[in-house]
């Protein structure tokens, strides 16, 4: 057996022994996701056991170096672990913006002490992070952001407002874009890290068309942010006034994540499932709808191949640096289409907003939620602008 085959068989037995049956069920609601943080509670013993088993093994962040709480897996090994977890539908043991967003930024731009301090906390699920990017006046034009940190020597005093801050009301710390130089648009932003319990920081949930409130408005009213949290641990990532570089890097990362390039629900075909579902309810799929489902499945399966190709190319540096924008554009548009078709195939049952049969209106709420896919993390229109400029190199601003 090759090393990788050995790793696969070991992983398979480890998962068999350590992943409880309840953790192999699809995620149904927010409580099924373990986000960690100061106020975290486990939904049940299985969730706790699964998290702790992964923590011990470094599998909350398998590809991070061991020194920062990961398992230090090679990319090929991490792929095997993902595949094996996918095979048994294992839930992620820990979900967090710390893992998805801040972690990659720190790994690339952080100091050694910063990595040890913050990455360890993230890997152990001790601190739950939120992302302070968009502002009421700065959506697609993010770089025009106005939240201002006034330099007071050893600290800043931050004033301003963020919006679309995911789960800000449940988070412990924020990574936040703050203007520190009003004269320079691009080189006047600092990527700050601070505690949401600081005096003057407050949040207000935003109710969405889906009826849910995953996002908040976040207010900073004279929030005092120290410039350092100890020897070698600055309160910002990268350099002061150069936070836009970090933000741009992270946006690329976020687009990749939202694009569903790693596979999963967003890239699977749906026609067969729609037919099975219709058979259960005594419905029939209209021939014209069947044709649309078939055309969708062609696009979805082709996009699945694209996701695979994209990840393969990223690993060896073959992908165009702006390619995540294309993946994000195509992936989110596809996902919106998927949910339109699922609503149609489900008929009047899909309209139910609170019924037990629909698990509290899952079809319609999920359908509405997908409409944000092509807005958050850069709208489809912005993605198309970026493709035009950076990949096709079309003229103009």
């Amino acid at each position: 057996m090759t090393d990788l085959e050995t790793f696969r068989s070991e992983t398979r037995s480890w998962l068999e022994a350590n992943c409880p049956a309840e953790m192999r069920e699809p995620v149904r609601d927010e409580e099924d996701v373990y986000w960690g943080g100061r106020n975290a509670t486990f939904k049940n013993d299985a969730q706790k056991a699964w998290f702790e088993a992964c923590l011990e093994k470094g599998y909350t962040v398998p590809a991070w170096p061991k020194a920062y709480g990961g398992a230090g897996l090679e990319p090929a090994e991490a792929k095997v672990l993902r595949e094996e977890m996918g095979r048994i539908n294992a839930r992620p043991p820990l979900s967090s913006f710390g893992i998805w967003m801040l972690g990659p930024a720190l790994l690339k731009f952080g100091t050694e002490e910063q990595k040890k301090h913050f990455l360890g906390q993230i890997a152990r699920g001790e601190i739950r992070w939120c992302q302070g990017y968009s502002e009421p006046g700065s959506g697609s034009d993010l770089v025009s952001l106005q939240t201002f940190g006034e330099d007071k020597g050893d600290h800043w005093v931050v004033n301003g407002q963020k919006v679309w801050t995911s789960y800000a009301d449940q988070c412990d710390w924020i990574f936040c874009l703050v203007r520190t130089d009003k004269e320079d648009k691009y080189r006047g932003i600092t990527f700050m890290l601070f505690d949401m319990e600081s005096e003057g920081a407050s949040t207000k949930p935003i109710k969405l068309i889906s009826g849910n409130s995953p996002f908040c408005e976040t207010f900073f009213d004279d929030v005092k942010v120290p410039k350092s949290y100890g020897e070698g641990i600055p309160a910002y990532v990268g350099e002061i006034n150069r936070g836009w570089d970090v933000a741009k890097y992270l946006l690329g990362h976020e687009r990749e994540m939202i694009s569903g390039a790693g596979g999963g629900d967003r890239t699977s075909a749906i026609g067969a499932a729609m037919k099975r579902h219709a058979a259960k309810t005594g419905d029939e799929i209209d021939p014209v709808l069947r044709a649309e489902l078939a055309m969708f499945d062609v696009d979805a399966l082709a996009y699945g191949a694209m996701g695979e190709k994209f990840l393969d190319e990223i690993k060896v540096g073959k992908a165009h640096p702006a390619q995540p924008n294309m993946m994000k554009y195509a992936g989110t548009e596809l996902n919106k289409r998927r949910h339109e078709l699922m609503m149609t195939a489900g008929g009047s049952r899909s309209l139910e907003w609170e019924s037990e049969e629909t698990d509290g209106g899952k079809p319609s709420r999920n359908w509405l939620r997908t409409k944000a896919n092509s807005i958050e993390g850069g709208t489809s229109e912005i993605m198309l602008n970026v493709i035009s400029k950076r990949i096709l190199e079309l003229p103009g601003s």
Binding site: G271, A272, A291, L293, M295, D297, E308, V316, Y329, L394
Partner: protein, 379 residues
């Protein structure tokens, strides 16, 4: 296997790219033969050159004198054929017929393969009987007659049929028109008596025949594989041909797209380059995204086919359908964005639109393959 070309494949791509651009370009081949009303629609000299490059026998096993390469490699050549709109027998001879001949007897291989590898012979495939691709139904019949067979029926859309030295014909030797069993493939020499060809020029300047078989007498050794067991061979030909056509389609799509993007960077109206207009930028970027995704589906299908994976069938239809959609978009946007000159014969963009139309139809269009995806997925 990662979904990109390995080192050898990347080298082959470089070679194929420069060879087809130098020797197979539109002025030298497509326009040249079209404007001379050439009855073949392609140049035999180029076919010989392709043989010298080692292209013609790529898919032929090494034991049979070929290079024993796979569909990723054949696809590399096909993409450049597509990009240059190069008329050639490659897809029908070196992919479809070569796939059929893998199942032929040693004697049959000895009769046909050297000519293919040398670029001396051209083969055609006679599968379709109606204007829409429907290989499930085969009514052309071959009845036992002495030690051989007597072939009766009609085929259509036989690309380069009149130029071919040999036709691979799918015929029924038993059972009903739509039965899976009872199909036999024959290697029919061009001069067999009772064949009448009606070659017609198509929109893309290629030439295809309507062929009638009227009591064509065939020896028993014209059978490819086993009598009544030709369906599997036919299916493997179709899968190889569809993946090949998809690869050529990607070449057509990216050729048309690149030409259009270049034009957006040159053409000025209202005192500014039209590529500065967001209305066009967004459409161009959407097109780029669709072509990239189609390209991924094609290489995935090629790799699955080379690995002998069961899912190659499904992915071949995904690739053919996705390429049809994105190449269709590329040529339509291409002509529209070129404006008036896009409608002129002098500019090449219209040639891409014509080739795409013919290629879409070959071995099943997007609707045929989307339907097949649905059927294979169980709905």
């Amino acid at each position: 296997m990662p979904l990109y070309h390995d080192e050898d494949q990347a080298m082959l791509a470089d070679t194929a790219t420069s060879f087809m651009a130098d020797e197979g370009n539109i002025a030298k081949q497509l326009r040249h033969w079209r404007d001379r009303d050439c009855p073949d629609g392609f140049g035999h000299a180029l076919w010989k050159q392709m043989a010298e490059m080692g292209f013609t026998g790529m898919l032929v096993d090494e034991d049979d004198g070929g290079l024993g390469m796979g569909h990723v490699e054949a696809g590399i050549v096909l993409e450049q054929i597509g990009r240059n709109l190069t008329p050639s027998p490659f897809l029908t001879s070196s992919v479809l017929a070569a796939t059929a001949l893998k199942h032929g007897s040693a004697e049959m291989k000895g009769r046909y393969l050297p000519g293919l590898i040398e670029g001396e012979s051209v083969f055609a495939v006679a599968i379709d009987e109606t204007a829409k691709h429907r290989p499930g139904r085969i009514t052309t019949r071959a009845e036992k007659s002495g030690n051989g067979f007597k072939l009766n029926g009609a085929k259509t859309f036989v690309i380069q049929g009149a130029s071919a030295d040999m036709l691979v014909v799918a015929a029924r030797t038993s059972g009903g028109d739509e039965d899976n069993d009872g199909v036999t493939l024959f290697a029919v020499p061009k001069d067999a008596s009772g064949i009448s060809q009606d070659p017609v020029r198509l929109v893309d300047s290629s030439v295809a025949s309507h062929i009638k078989f009227d009591g064509v007498e065939l020896d028993g050794d014209a059978v490819i594989g086993e009598v009544d067991a030709g369906r599997d061979i036919l299916n493997s030909m179709l899968t190889a041909g569809r993946v090949g056509a998809a690869a050529e389609g990607i070449g057509v799509a990216s050729g048309a797209m690149d030409m259009t993007i270049d034009y957006l960077k040159q053409r000025k109206q209202f005192g500014t380059l039209i590529g500065e207009f967001q209305a066009l930028q967004h459409r161009a970027s959407h097109l780029y995204s669709e072509v990239e995704i189609a390209r991924a589906a094609v290489i995935k299908a090629q790799q699955l086919l080379d690995a002998g994976a069961e899912s190659a069938e499904l992915m071949s239809s995904v690739a053919k359908a996705k390429v049809a959609k994105s190449a269709g978009l590329a040529v339509k946007e291409g002509v529209q964005m070129h404006g008036g000159i896009g409608m002129t014969d002098e500019y090449d963009i219209g040639l891409y639109m014509k080739r795409d139309r013919a290629l879409q139809e070959f071995l099943g269009d997007a609707y045929f393959h989307a339907n097949r995806v649905a059927e294979m997925s169980g709905y």
